[in-house]
């Protein structure tokens, strides 16, 4: 089972099995990760609520069927889809712009990039709460600024349709998420750009190549893998958006900003219906795994040919 450095000694002469080193970490994962996952898979096949003290009743795939057929669940999924589309569009757009602007080296580039990373690193709870202050409909500085300049006030947390075709409250959530996650994509793209061999960059400078050629023949091939990685990571995380929505709109008004993870949270800890909550979680997991493979195959295929 073990090869490579088979001759490996704990004390002079005693053979050490590498699994001994892995065991402690594996135990903690077993108890607090693997076991709970199996348990929650079990729950998803039961009618179970901790509040009304009855013993869990086995109901087979009922939870899954009820979730798949409930218009409420589909509405939340569709809303999450729209959120995903707009947030990825904004995030990748700004990230591409910033990373291309940072193409040439200049003094202080590293510090500027680090400062740009701060929104990603601070707690989403803190930044979302401050956005709530900034976009406050009557006292917030954003509306004061808009009123003084354009003479209009926008109800950022209302159901009103914004020019983009989505309600303002959802637009605000998209903007907060974009503010938090754009640095992540920017950083990966810049990592892709910095993997371009330096003599190739210098050759393009000495050849005084037009920027469009530099982009198409030099930058794009090197950032393509990074775009793929960023897309996959962002897709996984976007489905788990919870903290900022909880503080910004609490899913409201009504259910306009109740994305899938907020919906599952409410199923579990407001309606105390653990069965459906776990079933819905596993359905979401299936979607994520399916979409990630599609991305991997599509993008890596593009990569290999």
């Amino acid at each position: 089972m073990v090869s490579g450095l088979t001759r490996f000694y704990l004390k002079r002469g005693k053979m050490l099995n590498p699994w001994l080193l892995i065991l402690p970490a594996f135990l903690v994962l077993l108890v607090f990760n693997i076991f709970p996952l199996i348990w929650s898979l079990g729950i998803s096949f039961h009618r179970f609520s901790i509040i009304i003290r009855e013993t869990p009743r086995y109901v087979g795939g009922l939870n899954y069927i009820s979730m798949l057929t409930s218009p409420e669940a589909w509405d939340r999924l569709q809303r999450t889809g729209t959120f995903l589309f707009y947030s990825l569009l904004f995030q990748f757009g700004v990230a591409l712009a910033v990373s291309l602007l940072m193409f040439e080296d200049f003094k202080g580039k590293r510090t500027l990039l680090t400062v740009f990373m701060i929104p990603l690193m601070i707690a989403p709870i803190a930044s979302a709460l401050f956005f709530r202050y900034m976009f406050d409909e009557n006292l917030g500085p954003v509306n004061n600024f808009l009123e003084s300049v354009l003479g209009i006030r926008i109800l950022w947390f209302s159901n009103e349709m914004s020019p983009l075709g989505i309600p303002y409250s959802l637009l605000t959530v998209v903007m907060v998420e974009t503010w938090i996650w754009t640095p992540f994509i920017t950083f990966l793209l810049i990592a892709g750009i910095s993997s371009i061999p330096s003599d190739l960059i210098e050759q393009s400078r000495v050849d005084s190549l037009k920027f469009c050629y530099k982009f198409r023949y030099m930058i794009l091939p090197y950032i393509k893998p990074m775009l793929a990685i960023a897309l996959i990571f962002r897709f996984m995380d976007a489905l788990k958006t919870f903290d900022s929505i909880y503080v910004l709109t609490g899913g409201g008004p009504g259910s306009t900003t109740e994305l899938i993870s907020v919906y599952i949270y409410k199923l579990a800890f407001e309606r105390w219906d653990f069965g459906s909550a776990t079933a819905m979680s596993y359905l979401v997991l299936v979607i994520v795994i399916f979409m990630t493979n599609v991305f991997m195959r599509y993008v890596l295929e593009g990569e290999r040919e």
Binding site: K11, P18, A97, I118, L129, M134, D243, G250, S261, V284
Partner: protein, 279 residues
């Protein structure tokens, strides 16, 4: 005799223009953080008078924040983070050395499993742990939170530490084996000192993840063990609350992170991508 002056001037102009636009974007981007700091030092009187106004900075809000219980929330956050990182680090150092040096049969399976923890909607984990803690009385205790966060930070630190240990050529281990050293000597006296900065960086990343976490804390922490993220979220409910005090709490909450970010510049890429991408 060729005249370069005109072309040079035009070239320089374009370069500084690009730089100007970039700096403008970054400044606008960081406006909210500036606003946060500005609001935190503003007296109550000037609360709603414009975004940039700061005539006489005061520490009023920080005092009120202290009375509001922010101090104990920060202390809780520190205890939970240090505990979680400590647990995750000790476990991951041993495991990542084994993963890096041996092609253990189950390695790829375990590696994929660790990556999948990022795919998994957290609720699937919280419900069973919530029930478990509820029944065995771990709910609302520091130990409970530290164990959960230890588990959460483990995948990140295992992968990141492994990527640093992979950078150390295997020949060094083999040279030490020929010298006759034991595994523990090689790990703790030779390999770890070489990757110390890397291990510190993975610890810092684990710390940031735990410090900022909200959902697990919301459900598993008790009244006197709730960290800052839960304290901030509870403010949502109150009507007409004092934004100055909120900004003060947020400032205390994010300063340690900003310090860590500047210290982590070099290893940022590894941290963000779980060690999968290294420059």
């Amino acid at each position: 005799m060729r005249d370069y002056r005109k072309a040079t001037r035009f070239f320089k102009l374009r370069k500084y223009l690009k730089l100007g636009v970039l700096i403008a974007i970054v400044l606008v981007y960081l406006l909210p953080i500036y606003g946060m700091f500005n609001l935190a030092f503003r007296p109550r009187a000037e609360m709603f008078s414009g975004f940039f106004v700061l005539t006489q900075p005061t520490l009023e809000n920080f005092v009120e924040a202290y009375e509001y219980g922010a101090y104990s929330a920060i202390v809780n956050s520190v205890i939970i983070t240090v505990g979680g990182v400590g647990l995750a680090l000790t476990l991951s150092v041993l495991a990542s050395y084994a993963f890096s040096r041996f092609n253990v049969k189950g390695k790829n399976l375990l590696m994929f499993y660790i990556l999948s923890t990022r795919m998994m909607p957290p609720i699937t984990l919280i419900i069973p742990i919530f029930i478990m803690y509820y029944t065995i009385g771990l709910k609302g205790t520091y130990l409970g939170l530290i164990l959960v966060y230890g588990m959460m930070a483990l995948p990140l630190s295992v992968w990141m530490t492994k990527s640093f240990i992979d950078d150390v050529p295997k020949d060094i281990d083999e040279a030490a084996i020929i010298d006759g050293h034991s595994t523990m000597y090689i790990l703790f006296k030779i390999v770890l000192p070489m990757v110390a900065p890397g291990v510190a960086a993975s610890a810092a990343f684990a710390a940031i993840t735990i410090w900022n976490e909200f959902l697990f804390a919301l459900l598993l922490s008790g009244i006197d063990t709730k960290p800052t993220s839960v304290l901030l979220s509870s403010i949502r409910g109150e009507r007409g609350f004092n934004w100055g005090r909120v900004a003060a709490i947020e400032v205390i909450y994010i300063i340690p992170i900003i310090i860590l970010v500047f210290w982590l510049q070099k290893h940022m890429l590894r941290g963000l991508t779980f060690g999968t991408v290294r420059r």
